[in-house]
Symmetry: none
Subunit: 394 residues, 2 copies
């Protein structure tokens, strides 16, 4: 329905995502409750708050579903597998015709049996050299381009780019040692070409490799989904200001332009200012709140929140018509992991009816005027407050 | 989705259901607000609260849908009819191939016309004798076992147990006097055997019966649904501690083990303690809050709530990882019936962000941190707080 109601207009939406910002109390207070955040507090008093569920109550989301729902996409309909996320995470830009897969360098004995699925955990440096060697010698098979991206230790991502590819093929990874690699086979007639290309790729890689990393095993073949772009769905001109590959990849997936920027909040602020005229939807991603949460570093997570708080007046000085601050999922330091707790959500706009929340915290957002809602409603809400949605019905 | 995310773990979930606990104010206070509940109050302060809708806003549920949603089953998808509920309520354990029906003993005149659908409301004692007589003489027809269970006055339940049965048959109850009983007919080819068995059963019963209860009329033929078990859906080892047959039957339906226990809260506590090691999901059912509500006995309902409150420390001493206290539906004493009012819901776990609720009452739960939700989300929430759900997506 939103597709039919969205209209293009001059108003600007700023979505500031503090990755994993939500927490759980330690000594009675969460990270957000512990942090000194005078600017966020003021914004919470002026704006309207609530709590969002990335997928649904009780569900702990990965970064993929957490971001997709925040971007207005059903995270159950659009599931992005590990192969694709690792490819996106490695900075590979994928097109809808491409097929990505995750690979391991492995050790195979004289009888063709896998004796080590990780080739003795070769170093990341060695991995890079091997990938470069393979890439130089296998850049194309038939009309399909082959693109290798090294990961950590024995891991890599391979992308097959060409026409008529199909991901309904068997994996070549036997998943345990003592087995031969599995011959890639088509599971549907449409995938015959893909299986043939993959077999040829494995064969040529085997010829080029030597022990201990003398074989490759592949799994998680996946074609990137045709995700309708935000431009078409929401009539937005969206842009991402993010440094980490996964978030840049997810933003790319939904059609955002991707800007180069620095690691600090200040760098992102600068990038935002410099590009303020060109777009009307700005996704700014702060990763460290999540990283410190994953590390169990309560104190540094608090400090990162306080750093963001200092920049709030600068963000406001750009006069966004809608300014949303939220998390994609919670990452309580005490759990050292993503969690199912809903995200604090704060929306600032001249059209809000302010609520009784006095701070941007999990507990204050419990009494927020927006109540609890699935994060997929965030974009419709932002569009509405930016006066970018027509009336529904006569 | 929950099916794919649930994992087996050592953590334990305790679900204490105070049947029909929610009320409506009398002289300004509900039963929960009137009761002195220091232990529940403390738990409310430490935990997180909310309000649940068994089916949806405004809907007053029977015990079946109210419990099924609390057990994590869509109460609209899994509808359990009166025939089955009466069978379950009579303690009959049904298998998925069985067909149950509700029966009346009736009076028929010499012309074969029903003159009294209740056979003059014969006594429950007489009913038992007649059922025993029929059971002795009709235990099997073809390869189908017949099982009769007497109910109150003129009511009974009959279960047909055998292969190839189908409930697409016509009822034999004409629903009004002055009509002949309806001949049971198959409404689909698959039900021909069932119709034949039912006709033979009615014919043989008629031969064995004498006035005033000289005929039987049957309605509500229903095959028990194949309900996926909690073990498979949620990877739980669930057990029910309940005395009333309907709740034992409902628990059995979703795969719970059923323990023998006594009528008092203390008896149930004892059963719980003795079985604490063997399971990881404990459903403890307290019936009397509902019974006193149905009787319109506000004072005794308050007293029962206070009795439960006294046992809260004992429940806590077992150290459940997740402890939920809630109702299945509301039964306001002033209405003397089930109602549509949402259920107060209290979740206690080390991972909660406590809210501002200071008591376990309808009004305090209105400001609860879990907000309002359909009761079907209770199990996903309990699983999440017990760390029994994997992350969704990468």
């Amino acid at each position: 329905m939103i597709e039919d109601l969205a209209i293009k207009s001059d108003s600007k939406i700023l979505l500031l995502v503090l990755d994993g910002v939500g927490g759980v109390p330690v000594n009675g207070k969460t990270e957000l409750e512990t942090a000194r955040t005078p600017n966020l507090d003021k914004l919470a008093k002026q704006g309207i708050t609530g709590l969002t569920y990335p997928v649904s109550r009780g569900i702990t989301p990965g970064s993929g579903p957490a971001h997709l729902s925040l971007f207005g996409y059903d995270p159950i309909q659009y599931q992005v597998g590990r192969g694709l996320l690792e490819a996106l995470g490695s900075g590979v830009i994928l097109d809808p015709e491409d097929i990505a897969a995750r690979g391991n360098f492995a050790t195979m004995d004289a009888n063709g049996v896998i004796t080590d699925r990780r080739a003795g955990r070769i170093s990341t440096e060695t991995n890079k050299e091997i990938c470069a060697h393979l890439q130089q010698n296998i850049s194309q098979i038939e009309d399909v381009k082959i693109e290798l991206t090294p990961g950590k230790e024995h891991r890599f991502v391979v992308v097959f780019r060409g026409k008529g590819l199909d991901d309904q093929i068997t994996e070549t990874d036997p998943q345990e040692i003592g087995q031969e690699p599995i011959e890639c086979e088509a599971l549907a007639p449409a995938a015959r070409k893909t299986a043939r290309i993959v077999c040829a790729f494995v064969e040529r890689a085997k010829e080029l490799l030597k022990a201990p990393a003398n074989m490759i095993i592949l799994r998680g073949f996946e074609k990137i989904q045709r995700v309708p772009k935000m431009q078409a769905r929401f009539k937005l001109s969206p842009v991402a200001i993010a440094t980490y590959p996964v978030y840049r990849g997810l933003a790319k997936l939904v059609g955002m332009d991707i800007l180069e920027t620095g690691a600090n909040v200040g760098d992102k602020m600068e990038t935002l200012k410099n590009n303020w005229e060109q777009y009307d939807f700005f996704y700014v991603h702060i990763k460290k709140t999540d990283s410190f949460g994953e590390d169990g570093n309560f104190k540094e997570k608090v400090r990162k929140i306080e750093e963001v708080d200092k920049h709030i007046p600068e963000f406001l000085s750009l006069n966004p018509d809608v300014f949303v601050i939220t998390g994609d999922h919670s990452t309580p330091s005490i759990l050292k992991a993503h969690s199912w707790h809903p995200n604090p959500f704060l929306l600032h706009s001249k059209w809000v009816i302010s609520d009784q929340a006095t701070r941007f915290t999990e507990r204050e957002c419990m009494i927020g005027g927006l109540g609890r809602f699935n994060a997929i409603h965030s974009v419709p809400l932002m569009l509405a407050y930016a006066l970018k949605l027509k009336k529904f019905g006569a």
